[in-house]
């Protein structure tokens, strides 16, 4: 175990994994929270269909997202000129698309539940528009944190999308999950196992943190 954790490349791989997944989470949060909130309180034709679609997209297969982004970014694709294929940026793009629906759908649910409870009271107090939206978002902030962490969990654990658009290039686009897949097929089980343990530890720590934050918030704010 000791020489696995001392493996020269291991921490580079871990760092790249975190960089890619955290960037994707940041982007997906920036787009997904407002999108989810807007769908939660908006009334427009086709709303039900949008919600069903969003919920369905939570289960997007990573390899399909990878394939779509691959086609977009490949030399002959519409965005081929950007030259992003097989770079960390392409991996961030693919993971952003993958987890955007998760963050949007979960925040839509949280905001809609709160809105249903608060709407009349806020209107009675003469609070509407942006002020009402901010009040509700602030009140469900811990549920939104859970939505964001669900996205991060999904991003850091998936292998299909980053494998296809990143190419698993040593030292450039190799992340924990793609390294595990490769080392396993090569028969280097100790390294694969070591990476697997690190990956699980990260996911565990994140979820424990989310749980504790939410518990503390529940006790403090009800």
């Amino acid at each position: 175990m000791h020489n696995i954790l001392g493996h020269p490349q291991l921490w580079d791989i871990v760092a790249l994994s975190l960089r890619v997944s955290l960037s994707a989470v940041a982007l997906a949060t920036l787009a997904g929270l407002p999108l989810g909130a807007a769908i939660a309180v908006g009334r427009f034709p086709g709303r039900a269909a949008v919600i069903v679609l969003l919920n369905a997209l939570m289960g997007l297969p990573p390899v399909v997202v990878g394939l779509a982004v691959y086609l977009l970014l490949s030399r002959a694709g519409p965005l081929g000129d950007l030259g992003l294929l097989f770079t960390p940026a392409a991996m961030v793009a693919a993971q952003t698309i993958l987890i955007l629906p998760i963050i949007a759908a979960l925040s839509r649910q949280a905001v809609e539940d709160a809105w249903r409870e608060y709407a009349e009271q806020l209107r009675s107090l003469g609070v509407d528009g942006l002020r009402a939206a901010l009040t509700v978002l602030w009140d469900v902030r811990f549920s939104l944190l859970t939505a964001v962490l669900a996205g991060l969990g999904r991003a850091s654990a998936e292998v299909g999308a980053v494998m296809i658009v990143g190419g698993n290039i040593d030292g450039v686009t190799r992340v924990m999950t793609t390294a595990i897949a490769l080392e396993t097929s090569k028969g280097d089980l100790p390294l694969a196992l070591g990476l697997g343990i690190v990956l699980i530890a990260i996911v565990l720590v994140l979820n424990a943190a989310a749980f504790l934050v939410k518990e503390a918030a529940q006790r403090r704010y009800g």
Partner: protein, 228 residues
């Protein structure tokens, strides 16, 4: 002054049949009726939370929105302290030093000692008193109450009724929906009796109970009395 409030031929889908009435300042008005009679909907139409399908809700003065408040059957509290909940309403209304006014309102309903507790972990009765404090801080000309004690035990109900009396004494017009006859008698001056979306009878409380003018009202009083 935003009173009198005039409802001019308002209806709401099939729930409220076309109805006209005027509600003036002064006596406390009780909207009485069975569950599903349309009391809550009528009150929401008056308060402007629902738009009537037809007809008009007309207040007599400007800025009517800010001069009325409503307390719901189930209090809705934000995830913050009791004090912050009241201060939020004061700040939204823009009527001065939010914290100071909020603290005075909490004192008024006897919740000052819980000011810094999270509002949503208070008991049902305390949350309802907090909702009344939130309304108190706004010094409304009219206070709408939608079955404010329907889910409370007798001692919490007594406390809520005491605060409602304090509102009345301070000059706030009380408009309260209830199906509790005892409460209607204790707090009301006049009764609007609603039956299946229609205003069936309007009478002073005393006369309404002694000598109901319609068969529906008589049946309601008779049927409800055992639980009053």
């Amino acid at each position: 002054m935003i009173l009198p409030l005039r409802l001019e031929g308002i209806s709401f889908r099939h729930i409220i049949q076309p109805l006209s009435l005027e509600i003036g300042a002064g006596p406390s008005t009780i909207i009485l009726g069975a569950n599903g009679a349309g009391k809550s909907v009528l009150m929401r139409l008056m308060h402007g939370l629902l738009a009537p399908s037809a007809g008009r809700v007309a207040w007599s003065g400007p800025d009517a929105r800010r001069k009325q408040a409503m307390v719901f059957q189930r209090p809705v509290m934000l995830r913050r302290s009791a004090l912050a909940n009241v201060a939020y309403a004061v700040a939204a209304a823009g009527i001065g030093e939010a914290e100071k006014i909020a603290m005075e309102a909490l004192r008024e309903v006897g919740l000052a000692h819980l000011a810094h507790r999270p509002a949503r972990v208070l008991s049902g009765g305390e949350q309802q008193r907090l909702a009344l404090a939130r309304a108190w801080a706004l010094h409304p000309e009219v206070l709408f109450l939608d079955e404010p004690t329907a889910s409370l035990d007798p001692s919490a109900t007594r406390e809520i009724e005491a605060v409602i009396r304090a509102f009345d004494a301070s000059g706030t017009k009380i408009v309260m929906a209830t199906h509790n006859l005892g409460q209607a008698r204790r707090l009301g001056d006049e009764v609007l009796f609603i039956h299946q979306g229609r205003l069936v009878e309007r009478a002073p409380v005393e006369r309404f109970f002694r000598q109901p003018g319609t068969a529906e009202a008589a049946a309601f009083i008779k049927g409800e009395l055992p639980w009053a």
